[in-house]
């Protein structure tokens, strides 16, 4: 049994990798003005996308000061917020996107490890 489980875990991982490689990622980054925090978030997200999702992602940066209606529609509370609209499930990543591990987990690019 433990062996079977191990296999299924690694299979799932591979599947996730495969999926990640093929699936289109629709990402929205909501920022509040061009603050240092916003620029840091933009820089981190683009770098990460280029590294892990090269060629199959769609990233749009929205300034909620410019489009406050979207803040309401998208249920934005914090800024910056990165929303993974596709693939499902929907995820919200808030902050400067400095913690790469957590972002990869949040974007389902990496399975949750034991410590988090």
């Amino acid at each position: 049994m433990p062996q079977a489980k191990k296999r299924s875990v690694s299979e799932a991982l591979e599947a996730a990798e495969r999926k990640a490689r093929n699936e289109k990622y629709v990402l929205r980054l909501y920022i509040a003005g061009m603050t240092p925090r916003s620029t840091e978030a933009i820089r981190n997200v683009t770098a990460l996308c280029d590294e892990h999702l090269a060629g199959h992602y769609d990233l749009e940066v929205v300034d909620i000061y410019q489009q406050p209606v979207l803040a309401k529609g998208e249920q934005i509370i914090a800024a910056p917020t990165l929303i993974k609209k596709l693939p499902l499930p929907l995820r919200r990543l808030i902050g400067t996107m400095a913690d790469e591990d957590r972002i990869l987990v949040g974007l389902d690019l990496r399975k949750r490890t034991q410590h988090g």
Binding site: Y30, A32, G33, R37, E40, A41, I64, Y65, P68, V69, A71, K72, Q75, I76, I77, A78, A79, P80, T81, L82, P89, L90, R91, R92, L93, I94, G95, T96, M97, A98, D99, R102, I103, V105, G106
Partner: protein
């Protein structure tokens, strides 16, 4: 306005919740944030919503409501039950409503952030309707969704300052904490005004209370005030703030029993006074109270009958048996029965319910029957406090109040269980007197302020013809009531009869004697007459004899031819 007078006094933003505005001396601090703390289900959301809706409806101040716990749809539906049409207000651009969904499972923290999203949304809504009032309900959801409390706390502090800068008066709500006022210590950030709503359960009875924990720059009532949620929303009852400066009336109202009126200085109770009818079980307390209600209605006044023991139908049926027809007044809308078991609500809720009903019905008199079983839901001190408030409240409105109180068998009669007698202006005591194997009702006026009341005991009788007060028999043998009184009266009557008969007999005998004597007199006279007649007859015969003899002698002499 003199220029030297630059003292700025804190402006207030009325909530439109009458009691709350009274204890806060006018409302919430204008342009500041007020925290409403309390446990689940205590009415925080409702209070916040009433603040916003009343602002729109009454004070022409558009408002913003940011909900974290209920969707706009749910809110609109819930508030519709209070008659608030949120959707219409939104269409008319008087209200902006936003549901902020915080889903902890979706959120990943990845570094530093702020809550600008929230600010932007609030700012947009405030600008959209030109809001003067903002409610945020409740901030606790943020704490569950955003694990980084450090950021959150800093942002909340910024939020309250920002709201203040926007010039809006705001309410934020927060869940009650175990040891602190709110679970997340929100009171640290809101320094202007903190209101605490409590929903306490004692002896299985829930009571809502409201307390102003602090209110910087303003005086406020410091007590816990009873609050109630009914069809009109939250009601706060600041009755204890009433002073002893109510108007008094010289007008009198009849007690419904003419002889009782006579005992009360000839005219009955004072209008707006409080009357206590106490007595043992079955002494007729309710009947006396119902008669009063009947009298008030017959005079065209309105009356509310609060019954804690009997259903309206039962009271009406029972009173029919003594010739009191309460049903007609109910039909005419003059009499309102409010029957409930005391245990159905907490003490304060009862008070609030009474208060609300009195405000709505505007009666000339109320009857509370009885106050003694309120002890089922509170201790003596609580009941006494409640009655004090109630009496003050009624007196302020010039409403005559009749309270009945049961004295337990064996308890001292001239002492109410609740120690409320000193609150009462008139105290009528009903008691049962046991004598000659029966129990009779005795009534007397123990006290009645401001009138020369009778010191007499009266027997109180209930029959199908109504209530009557009868003089008790006071004779050599003491006080008699009931059949003993009747017996004594019979005995007296018999005695009098005997005396009368003896006199009659004596008179008859004398008469007989007189008649006899007259008869004797008459027969004696008759004898006398006959004797006289006889005598007269005898004399005539003798004369005739002598005449005859003389004639014979003459004849003889002639015959003899004598000389």
């Amino acid at each position: 306005m003199a220029k030297s007078k630059t003292l700025r006094v804190l402006q207030k933003s009325p909530t439109g919740i009458q009691g709350l505005d009274e204890i806060t001396n006018g409302g919430l601090p204008c342009g500041r944030t007020t925290l409403v703390a309390g446990s689940a289900g205590c009415g925080k959301t409702l209070l916040a919503m009433q603040f916003i809706v009343n602002g729109i409806r009454t004070y022409h101040e558009p408002g913003v409501f940011m909900a974290f716990e209920e969707t706009a749809e749910d809110l609109a539906l819930n508030m519709a039950s209070l008659g608030y049409d949120l959707k219409q207000m939104m269409r008319r651009k008087l209200l902006a409503l936003d549901y902020v969904r915080v889903e902890p499972r979706e959120i990943y923290e990845t570094g530093d952030y702020d809550l600008e999203g929230l600010f932007v949304r609030l700012g947009m809504m405030i600008d959209e309707v030109g809001a003067k009032r903002v409610a945020i309900d409740s901030l606790d959801a943020l704490f569950s969704g955003l694990p980084n409390e450090l950021i959150l706390r800093a942002e909340l502090r910024r939020l309250f300052r920002w709201l203040s800068d926007k010039g809006v008066t705001s309410i934020v709500t927060g869940e009650q904490g175990e040891r602190t006022l709110t679970r997340h210590g929100l009171e640290e950030y809101v320094s202007e005004c903190v209101i605490f709503l409590d929903h306490r359960v004692t002896n299985q009875i829930a009571t809502r209370r409201l307390r102003i924990v602090k209110y910087r720059g303003s005086g406020h009532g410091t007590n816990e005030y009873p609050a109630m949620i009914d069809s009109s929303g939250i009601n706060v009852l600041p009755i204890s703030s009433l002073g002893l400066n109510y108007p008094v009336s010289k007008e009198r109202v009849s007690s419904g029993v003419p002889r009782l009126d006579a005992m009360l200085g000839g005219k009955g109770y004072f209008k707006g006074s409080s009357v206590l009818i106490s007595g043992t079980a079955g002494a007729g307390k309710s009947s006396l109270a119902a008669i009063f209600a009947d009298r008030v209605c017959a005079a065209g006044g309105r009356c509310i009958y609060f019954s804690f023991e009997e259903a309206p139908a039962q009271i009406m049926r029972n009173m029919e048996s003594i010739g009191i027809h309460l049903g007609q007044w109910v039909q005419k809308g003059l009499l309102h029965f409010e029957s409930s078991r005391p245990t159905i609500l907490g003490m304060e809720s009862h008070l609030t319910a009474m208060y609300t009903l009195v405000e709505r019905f505007r009666p000339a008199a109320v009857v509370v029957d009885p106050i003694s079983n309120l002890t089922a839901i509170g201790d003596q001190a609580e009941v006494c406090a409640m009655l004090t408030r109630m009496i003050d409240f009624l007196k302020n409105r010039g409403i005559t109040a009749v309270f009945t109180s049961l004295t337990e068998g064996g308890a001292p009669l001239e002492q109410t269980e609740l120690g409320v007698s000193s609150l009462m202006d008139t105290w009528i005591l009903l008691r049962m007197l046991e004598s000659a194997s029966e129990r009779d009702r005795i009534l007397y006026v123990l006290k009645s302020r401001g009138m020369a009341h009778s010191n007499q005991m009266r027997e109180f009788t209930l029959s199908k013809d109504g209530v009557q007060l009868v003089d008790v028999y006071t004779g050599q043998g003491g006080v008699y009531t009931g059949s003993a009184r009747l017996l004594q009266e019979d005995r007296d009557r018999a005695e009098q009869l005997a005396v009368a008969q003896a006199e009659l007999r004596r008179q008859r005998e004398l008469e007989k004697e007189r008649v006899e004597l007259e008869n004797q007199m008459r027969s004696a006279q008759a004898r006398l007459q006959s004797i006289q007649d006889e005598l007269r007859a005898g004399a005539a015969v003798e004369k005739r004899r002598l005449d005859t003899a003389a004639q014979q002698r003459k004849d003889l002499a002639r015959v003899r031819k004598a000389d």
